[in-house]
């Protein structure tokens, strides 16, 4: 799958919905968009192609001048005056309220959207079968190996003393023999959670355009109300997208043949 524009949103929570045949589907409700397009990054000017989106208005009094200036074309500034005088073409602005969350979606090619356009859930996910959700997992603090890496711990009896929840031996891994140091990436106690995670290939169950909601099957990272990024899945040959992918490949082949 080629890279596609997604949307920014908040995780609302989990519930269930009933299918037509009466089976219950576990879903996560995500409030996505509407997201104004703030900027378009191009290979020529920025070195990469991307779309920058905003989500949720921020009161102007709380926004820094730079945040206000990023979205407003009419904000007066000396630099702008001098640049205009010098004949520099100013970048287009979205002319919306300052945005609380601003993120970019990388793309392969320049997008078809324009700055100032407001993307809604129906526009972006209308025909999407499955999505990827990127969020920050719930922070669990500094945790031991049993909770963090699902280790088994050490025996409760048989002479084990004060080491019941420890990892056991950390050295002498065969591949690192003789180095005198433990192997890199060894699983140990440490910070667990509060990390960026992507869940791929979540099936889209329903889209509620009136309330800007998307319902995906399964769970997504983070607590209720957490900020998440939702994009059409980039998992090639995803089970939910297989038909669409096959179609895409087919058309590509046809086009190639025609080209010949």
């Amino acid at each position: 799958m080629s890279k596609a524009v997604g949307l920014l949103g908040f995780k609302v929570g989990m519930t269930q919905v009933f299918n037509d045949d009466g089976t219950a589907e576990p879903v996560t409700v995500i409030e996505v968009g509407p997201c104004p397009v703030l900027q378009i990054r191009t290979k020529e000017t920025d070195g990469y192609a991307a779309v920058q989106l905003g989500f949720k208005d921020k009161p102007r009094k709380n926004a820094r001048r730079s945040e206000q200036g990023h979205v407003a074309s009419k904000l007066a500034s000396k630099r702008k005056d001098s640049r205009t005088k010098a004949g520099v073409q100013l970048l287009p602005k979205a002319d919306c309220e300052p945005q609380r969350h601003v993120r970019e979606f990388r793309l392969d090619a320049p997008p078809s959207v324009t700055v100032g356009q407001v993307l809604k859930v129906g526009d972006v996910f209308g025909e999407v079968k499955s999505v990827d959700v990127i969020g920050t997992t719930k922070g669990r603090g500094y945790q031991g190996v049993m909770r963090r890496h699902n280790f088994d711990g050490l025996p409760a009896a048989h002479g084990a003393k004060k080491v019941h929840r420890q990892a056991g031996s950390t050295s002498s891994l065969a591949s690192n023999r003789g180095s005198g140091r433990p192997k890199k990436g060894l699983k140990r106690a440490g910070q667990y959670g509060n990390a960026r995670r992507t869940v791929r290939n979540l099936k889209v169950i329903r889209i509620d355009a009136d309330n800007n909601l998307i319902l995906v099957r399964g769970s997504v990272p983070g607590f209720n109300g957490a900020f998440v990024l939702v994009r059409p899945t980039n998992l090639f040959n995803s089970s939910h997208n297989r038909v669409a992918v096959q179609q895409e490949v087919k058309t590509k082949i046809v086009l190639q043949k025609k080209g010949k």
Binding site: G13, T15, V29, L215
Partner: protein, 167 residues
């Protein structure tokens, strides 16, 4: 507090016609089953021993004794597979979960009736039955009117009279 978005999602599918019943009540669950190609309903009668969850996720555990063996089934109250829930008997209990009756047999399984609620329930059930009968009668009348204004019984009588006359 529940989010308004969650409400919007759940309200679409929650049933408005779920009767008020409590733990300890005896209910009949009319369940839709797919029998080959045809859909039919099956009734399951038992005591509600637990209710859990809220909103569209609400579930109930219904227990009954089949051939001396206790059977418990857990239903999603708002499932579209449940056609109707009928409250038969109002029970009076002091627990939110009646798991203790699992260990009991025979007479000890009985749940004390709640006479006050039972009266209201009987009245409501009678009213509902009367309404259903009225609707059915009206539908039958309409059908006979559509078929030529002769009721089945009248048609039968007429045919009989004609046969007698022929003889």
């Amino acid at each position: 507090m529940q989010s308004k978005f969650m409400q919007a999602v759940e309200d679409k599918q929650t049933k408005g016609d779920v009767p008020a019943f409590q733990v300890g009540d005896t209910i009949i669950v009319h369940q839709k089953l797919l029998d080959g190609q045809k859909e039919r309903t099956q009734a399951y009668e038992g005591d509600v021993i637990a209710r859990s969850g809220n909103g569209i996720k609400e579930m109930m555990t219904v227990r009954k004794i089949v051939q001396g063996e206790g059977v418990e089934r857990i239903f999603l109250i708002h499932s579209p597979r449940i056609a109707r829930i009928e409250v038969k008997k109002a029970g009076q209990v002091r627990r939110a979960k009646l798991y203790y009756i699992r260990e009991r047999l025979g007479k000890a399984v009985r749940i004390k009736g709640d006479t006050k609620r039972q009266q209201a329930l009987d009245a409501a059930n009678a009213k509902a039955a009367a309404e259903a009968a009225a609707v059915k009668a009206a539908a039958a009348k309409e059908q006979t009117a559509a078929e030529g204004g002769v009721s089945k019984r009248a048609a039968k009588r007429k045919a009989k009279a004609e046969a007698a006359a022929k003889k």
